[in-house]
Symmetry: C2
Subunit: 387 residues, 2 copies
């Protein structure tokens, strides 16, 4: 098994990008990553995407993007795992390089969600849930998360306003990210008064519908060291995927993300680290409740205590475990199949010391976690920067 | 890099399976493969599927099937490459085992195409083509193939009836396959009189819309040898994917499948064989014209000569290069995302000597080729049976 390095990163701004289709978004992110890596071609392209068929009428997406990007001929496939599609594509890229079957691999995540009516996009997103036993009963994605959040409040005796630190941190960090969708400072008052989406979830608990693409270039670590061009190398120390029941009602405990527990703890073992060693954590705050559950299952807070951790200031950029340092899903935006790759691109920026206004003082070991569905598929990556 | 073995195979019958949804089909094929391999769990599940979102309103399919199949917790992802999704999932399974990151991997291909109106299914299939520049102009998938077939007839001075051997061989071979969709003997007269779909393509040139699932279990070859339980081991000697332009009109030559050329010739090199060494070839006869182009690009016939090869009898079960020994896409059926895995399952049956009435006398080295779109994504696998 070969160690894998990330040698190039690229991204588009996140937003309502009506003048760009899937192929243009993929093209822009990939070319930025290729330029950053200093490569002109690759052996394979893996594309993370959830909704190209439903919302753009286009399958066969990876080959389309390879063709449009000038990579005609190379291996290409689309990888889908709902909102975790981006990290799932990253995982396949890691497999390809680790196996020795490919030396240079491009992974991109791309999603286009704003060219359809909101009801169509919402119906598309509901395909991440169990169509026959959740969606067919009228449960949208936000409704499922709202029920989990309400249960959390009941079990642990917390109130809605206790979740405020998550979106406040996200929006604070997005202020320094020019690619983020939102640049607005969120106050506790504004959070409390935000319009409800599915109570107790309000619009400030919810990541936005948006478009975007991000990309990375992978190479064998040893080869990347020789190839190095002055940029700090980043090693993929762990790449792990785990699953849980698709339907929330099938879980023994809806407040426990078993797939986050499995994937994070396997990742710690593979990387030879403990949660204490993680310098910052790009987590999946599609809804505020998911940020809390992710922290608890990954070993950063005892059960029911994630909100205390958030209130303590530990998760801000100057805290001991900064999260979502470029704005997270809430404020950078959540183009679903692209998010997992955005998380990795942003982690690499921090590890390289290229995070600009948001650069952390100490960024050597990063963790990213991408969640598909209401916790049904969860991938954890640990990335280590060269000292 | 570790060598990879196929240690289990399973399949459902192919047909209009109205009483089974995607999860049931996947479950049945996977459990058959697991029983065949003698395993009770696995490290990962990769699902080849093209149309679950469009036709069943269900994404996040791999996790759903893992959950429903009793594999809760394991890594899972859906792989999409249009009609080549099945082989693309196989490729990811091979990467996972070869890398050393997984020891036991299940690959399944599953598709459900008959629960929707024919127009909806046709629109879904058109998503394999370029939505903005082919489908939006009204070109369905069969229309694109019809134009290629007509061009072939013009360039090489052949007539429609010269294509008859392909479906005749497929239907002949399906007679001995209990899982095939069709069990009818096709005569040249019946072929000539078949109703037109998109001239010159008639219904006997066209693979059917249908449902089905197939699955394989992969393990490291060395481990499988120790683990062996009396079945002949099959080694994956080559697993290669290549692409071409998505749109047919972008090709320099619409009669040349560059992605078949690249993937087959890389596969020959990796496996250390030549086309002469291939004992039988499971090829992608979604339409008769694709069978001809596949044979030519893969080095089995000079350009324009595939129909002569077919007319010579060489492609029948007693010929020197039997094709589609269990009925191919035309007569076994073509549940699109499942087809690539059916091809591999059937090849393993031959290599193991388990092909029943259709068993070849000499089956030691097999090749399978799965085509996505009108030749845009093509995967070639070479499988070698233990002597």
């Amino acid at each position: 098994m070969r160690d894998v390095a990330i040698v190039g990163i690229g991204q588009t701004p996140v937003g309502e990008l009506w003048n760009q289709s899937l192929r243009h978004l993929g093209h822009d992110a990939i070319h930025a990553a290729m330029a950053d890596a200093g490569i002109e071609t690759a052996d394979a392209l893996y594309v993370g995407n959830m909704l190209s068929g439903e919302l753009s009428g286009q399958e066969h997406l990876a080959t389309l993007i390879a063709d449009f990007t000038g990579l005609r001929g190379i291996e290409a496939a689309k990888i889908e795992a709902a909102c975790a599609s981006g990290a799932a594509a990253m995982r396949v890229g890691v497999l390809a390089v680790a196996s020795g079957m490919a030396d240079t691999v491009i992974v991109t995540g791309v999603e286009k969600m704003t060219d359809t009516l909101p009801a169509e996009t919402t119906a598309g997103l509901a395909m991440a849930a169990d169509q026959d036993y959740e969606a067919a009963e009228g449960a949208t994605f936000v409704a499922l998360n709202a029920m989990i959040m309400r249960r959390y409040m009941y079990e642990y005796g917390v109130t809605k306003v206790d979740f405020a630190p998550f979106p406040i941190i996200a929006h604070e960090n997005a202020l320094g990210n020019p690619n983020a969708m939102f640049h607005l400072k969120l106050t506790p008052e504004r959070y409390e008064k935000a319009p409800a989406v599915a109570p107790p979830i309000n619009i400030m608990d919810s990541s936005p519908i948006c478009d975007g693409a991000a990309a990375v270039v992978l190479m064998p670590y040893e080869q990347a060291r020789e190839f190095g061009r002055g940029k700090r190398l980043v090693r993929v120390a762990a790449s792990v995927s785990a699953t849980d029941t698709l339907a929330v009602h099938d879980r023994h405990d809806p407040l426990w993300l078993e797939a986050a527990y499995i994937s994070s703890h396997k990742a710690y073992t593979l990387a030879g680290v403990t949660p204490n060693d993680i310098d910052f954590f790009e987590l999946h705050d599609a809804f505020s409740i998911m940020a809390a559950l992710s922290l608890e299952a990954s070993g950063f807070a005892p059960r029911g205590k994630a909100l205390e951790l958030a209130a303590s200031g530990a998760l801000a950029r100057d805290g001991r475990l900064p999260i979502n340092t470029m704005g997270g899903l809430k404020a950078r935006g959540h183009p679903v199949g692209a998010t997992g790759v955005y998380q990795i691109v942003e982690a690499v920026m921090q590890l390289r010391g290229e995070a600009g206004a948001n650069q952390l003082d100490h960024a050597h070991i990063a963790m990213t976690q991408n969640i598909g569905g209401s916790g049904a598929t969860i991938l954890t990556h640990i990335l280590i920067g060269e000292s």
